[in-house]
Symmetry: C2
Subunit: 210 residues, 2 copies
DNA sequence: CCAAAAGTGTTAAAGCTACACCCATGG
DNA sequence: CCATGGGTGTAGCTTTAACACTTTTGG
C-alpha cells in the first residue's frame, strides 16, 4: 500500500502594509472547520509543481507570479502514512479574486495574527515567511508581489512589510537601482497634493539572483 | 491508487582534495547496472528523515554528520506515478567503511568526473552541490566533513575543494576565528619537517547560521 | 643549515549606514 | 502659500581583498 501524497500552498500577499496568507476552512475530517492552508491530494497525473500551480489559480483566480517548493514533511496524519509537499507563492493582491459564496470561503489572514490552525500549518507558514525574507535580500522575487508598474515607495513598503522593519528611503532606492533589479518606465503617477512619483518596473520578471 | 514515494541521498565527502559522491549501481530495472544515487522506497512506517538517515548509515557505516532535505521531484518514472524526496549528507571520509564484496559495491566518484547516471541523478547532485557551496558561506556545515580535531589548513582545503577555488590563508584563518565557527583545542600536531600546526575544533557541531 | 609548512598584520577599496534639505504638486 | 509626499548626496564606518616575511621543526 503506497502512502498518500498531498500538496499544500502558502499564498502570500501584502495587503494594507501587512503580510497576509490565504487560508481556507477544512471541509473534511480530521480537523474539520479549522483554518488551514489550501491544498489537496496529488493524483500523479500531472507534475507536482503543476498541481501546486493549479491549486493557486483555483484559490486566487490569478496565475501564480512566483511559486517555489519549500519542503516535504511526513507523518502529518496518524492514521495513514503520507507526505505533504509544501510550496509558497507570492501574488499581487490587486489581481486576486477570491471565490465567494461558498459556505466556507477562503480568507486573507495577517501572519502576525493567525487563527488557531490545523496540523502544523503555522510552522509551515513561519518557515515559508523565513524563506521569503531571506530571498528578498538576494533575489528579485518581490516582483511576485507587485503590479507591472509601481513607485519606489510602494516597493519599499512591500519590503518593509515582509522584513518587519523600516528601511532608509535613500539607501533603499540606491540599492534597488544599482542592483539592477528595477528600471524607470519614464512615466509618472500624479496622485494627491504633492510631487508626482516616477514609475518603475522590474528589469526581469523571472527569478534572478543578485 | 497512491503514488510511489522514494528517498534518495547525495552523500558528499572530500577525498584527496576533491569532492566525491557515493554512488551505487542499480540492481533493478529500469536502468539496471547504471550508476545511481543510493535510496529506496519509503514505506511510511518511519519518518522520511529517519529513512534517509538510515540509508546513509547503511551505505557508509557512519552516522550522518549532516543531513538536509533538498527537494522533491515527481515523474521520474514514466510507468507509475511517483515522487522522490532528495536529501544530501556530509560525511567525514575517515569514518566511512563502505560495504564490500557485493557484486556491485558502492563507490566514491569525483563530482567533476561523474559516470553516466540513471534518471536525472546528475542534476540532483549538481543542485546538492550548489546548496552546499552556498551554505558553506553562511553556516558551519563544514563540521560534517571533518573529524573532531583538525588544522586550519585542513579546514581550508575542504573549503577550497567544495568552492572550487583557492582562498587566501590569512584571510581564511581570520574569518573562521572571528566568525566563532572554530576554536583552538590548545594542542598541536607534529608531522614532518616543519613547524607543528595548532589543532582546532568546531565550537558547535550542530547547524549554526552566522 | 636547509627545506617545508605554520603562523601573523597592514593597507586600500568597496560597501553599508546614518542622516537633512529642496522639489513638485493640489488645494 | 502651505501641506504633502518625492527626490537627492555625503561622510564615517565596517567589511573585504590583496599581499610577504618570520617561525618552528626534522633531517
Amino acid at each position: 500500500m503506497n502512502p498518500l501524497v498531498a500538496t499544500v500552498v502558502v499564498i502570500f500577499a501584502v495587503i494594507e502594509d501587512a503580510v497576509q496568507v490565504l487560508l481556507v476552512q477544512r471541509t473534511a475530517e480530521p480537523e474539520r472547520g479549522r483554518w488551514a492552508l489550501p491544498g489537496g491530494r496529488w493524483d500523479g497525473r500531472e507534475g507536482m509543481d503543476a498541481t501546486a500551480s493549479r491549486k493557486l489559480v483555483e484559490e486566487t483566480g490569478a496565475g501564480g507570479l512566483y511559486l517555489e517548493q519549500l519542503f516535504t514533511t511526513s507523518g502529518l496524519d496518524r492514521e495513514q502514512p503520507g507526505v505533504a509537499v509544501a510550496y509558497f507563492a507570492l501574488v499581487d493582491q490587486a489581481r486576486v479574486r477570491l471565490r465567494e459564496g461558498d459556505e466556507w470561503p477562503p480568507r486573507w489572514q495577517r501572519v502576525d495574527a493567525l487563527p488557531e490552525m490545523a496540523f502544523d500549518n503555522d510552522s509551515v507558514i513561519a518557515q515559508a515567511l523565513d524563506r521569503v525574507r531571506a530571498k528578498l535580500e538576494y533575489t528579485n522575487i518581490a516582483y511576485g508581489l507587485l503590479p507591472e508598474e509601481f513607485t519606489v515607495r510602494e516597493l519599499q513598503a512591500t519590503y518593509e512589510a515582509i522584513l518587519g522593519r523600516e528601511l532608509d528611503r535613500r539607501n533603499f532606492r540606491k540599492r534597488m537601482l544599482s542592483n539592477g533589479i528595477i528600471e524607470p518606465t519614464g512615466t509618472r503617477r500624479r496622485e494627491g497634493a504633492h510631487r508626482p512619483a516616477l514609475l518603475y518596473r522590474f528589469v526581469s520578471r523571472e527569478p534572478v539572483f543578485l
